[in-house]
């Protein structure tokens, strides 16, 4: 489902205008960006957790050439699926 379709679905189910929905989506996006840049995690019940994880710098060795590369530290945004959703997904 694309963002547009999601906006349409929610505006219909909540009986609100699309502009209101877009406003709320924008606010959600801003909150997620703000929290992730602070390395916080956002927990959504029955869905999972969105969190920013910091990886320290590391040295990687190319097995073929033997050259070592210093990989810089980085922050990645990850999602961990909740057990409820996992069970629902794997229901026979």
């Amino acid at each position: 489902m694309l963002h547009k379709e999601l906006v349409d679905t929610l505006s219909k189910s909540l009986n609100r205008s699309k502009s209101d929905m877009n406003k709320l989506f924008e606010a959600l996006g801003n909150v997620v960006v703000e929290r992730c840049s602070e390395l916080d995690s956002i927990t959504v019940p029955r869905l999972g957790t969105i969190e920013a994880v910091k990886y320290n710098e590391s040295v990687e060795v190319n097995e073929n050439t033997g050259k070592r590369t210093l990989m810089p530290p980085r922050v990645e945004v990850q999602f961990t699926t909740s057990n409820v959703l996992k069970k629902r997904l794997n229901q026979p």
């Binding site: 489902m1 694309l2 963002h3 999601l6 679905t9 929610l10 189910s13 909540l14 609100r16 209101d20 929905m21 406003k23 709320l24 989506f25 924008e26 606010a27 959600l28 996006g29 801003n30 909150v31 997620v32 960006v33 929290r35 992730c36 840049s37 602070e38 390395l39 916080d40 995690s41 956002i42 927990t43 959504v44 019940p45 029955r46 869905l47 999972g48 969105i50 920013a52 710098e57 040295v59 050259k67 070592r68 590369t69 210093l70 990989m71 810089p72 530290p73 980085r74 922050v75 990645e76 945004v77 990850q78 999602f79 699926t81 959703l85 996992k86 629902r88 997904l89 794997n90």
Partner: protein, 363 residues
């Protein structure tokens, strides 16, 4: 840092951002996540603008959800490290050196946990520093100002000296006027020719003088204008923060992060170890001309890298010295403990003496 935002907090934050009621925000989020869960269970993907895409993937272990963050979100989260690039290590860098760096980086991290947060630094002061180092910075700060001031003073002096003849001129005129008194008319009519000659001579000379004087005043004016134009450049500063580190500063001010070493050098008197500059510190950004910084020149980049290696070695040497000192202190403490610790025998003797103190006194 490292907070967990629960659903009620998320509702509150979204309501604040969207300027709506918390009830509206809660309904929206509940409905949104219900739709997302429904779509995922049906094996479809969902894209939320500004957040990312959720997809279901089938593995050997079963179905799971994969999240691909939105480009803006990923960039914002990784902003503090965005300027770093993978670096191929040369053969000179041994594994031992890397281990040493790791160890030295772990130490300050431990200290940071123990110590309270660094005090915020006012924009006027350049960090918290000892008094002796402050003097050095004051000298540095005044350096660009003092030559200009001296120049101005000199120019003022020259202006005065040069303007003197111009002021004397009008005084000379009446004297010559006196010499041109009607007495000349009494001497002889023949002297009239001589008088004309004298008059001609005087006018010619005064003209020359006045020309010279105007030239001199013009030169003086020019020099004063120059000194006015050559104002001391304002000192550029920048503050260390989570996303604004010494490397980002170099990229921002010089166009390449390789020039970070010159910022470190400029502030070395206050912060000898560039790796341990606390957040909130205001650093002086030296002018690019001072170190010949040119991001387009390969030679300038090479020089910066060489300087960085030099600084790295200096810092490592300082680390080693500190480690040695710590070891010496530990050894001293151990030896002190050994000397002060009473032996078993002596402690027994002491307890025995305490027990029979009276008896000993009596004897």
């Amino acid at each position: 840092m490292k907070k967990t935002i629960a659903f009620p907090q998320l509702v509150e934050l979204v309501a604040q951002k969207a300027n709506t009621t918390e009830r509206m925000s809660e309904l929206f989020l509940q409905e949104l996540f219900a739709v997302v869960t429904q779509e995922l269970t049906e094996g479809k993907s969902v894209t939320i603008k500004g957040v990312g895409t959720f997809k279901t993937v089938k593995d050997d272990s079963g179905k799971d959800v994969v999240f691909i963050p939105d480009k803006d979100l990923a960039e914002a989260a990784n902003a503090p490290f965005a300027q770093f690039e993978p670096l191929e290590l040369c053969d000179e860098v041994t594994d031992e050196m890397l281990r040493e760096i790791d160890a030295s980086m772990e130490q300050p991290a431990q200290n940071e946990n123990e110590e309270p947060e660094p005090t915020p630094v006012s924009s006027n002061n350049v960090g918290t520093r000892p008094a002796s180092s402050e003097d050095n910075t004051q000298k540095e700060d005044t350096e660009p100002v003092s030559p200009a001031q001296n120049q101005e003073e000199e120019n003022v002096g020259t202006r005065r000296a040069l303007s003197e003849p111009a002021q004397k001129e009008p005084q000379e005129e009446p004297q010559d006027a006196k010499s041109r008194n009607p007495r000349v008319w009494l001497i002889a009519a023949a002297a009239a020719a001589a008088l004309i000659a004298v008059w001609y001579f005087y006018t010619h000379r005064s003209k020359e003088r006045s020309d010279k004087a105007t030239e001199v005043t013009q030169v003086a004016k020019d020099t004063t204008n120059d000194t006015k134009n050559v104002k001391p450049k304002p000192i550029v500063t920048d503050t260390i923060s989570g996303s604004n580190v010494i490397f980002t500063m170099a990229k921002k001010h010089y166009g390449d992060q390789a020039f970070w070493v010159y910022i470190a050098r400029e502030n070395q008197a206050l912060y000898p170890d560039y790796r341990k500059i606390p957040v909130g510190t205001v650093l002086i950004i030296p002018p690019a001309e001072k170190y010949g910084i040119n991001s387009d020149s390969k030679q300038s980049l090479k020089q910066a890298n060489a300087e960085a290696m030099k600084l790295y070695k200096e810092v490592k040497a300082a680390d080693k010295n500190e480690a040695k000192k710590d070891e010496d202190v530990k050894v001293d403490e151990k030896s002190k403990n050994v000397t002060t610790k009473p032996s078993k025998k002596s402690s027994l003797r002491h307890s025995h003496y305490k027990k029979h103190q009276k008896h000993y006194r009596h004897r």
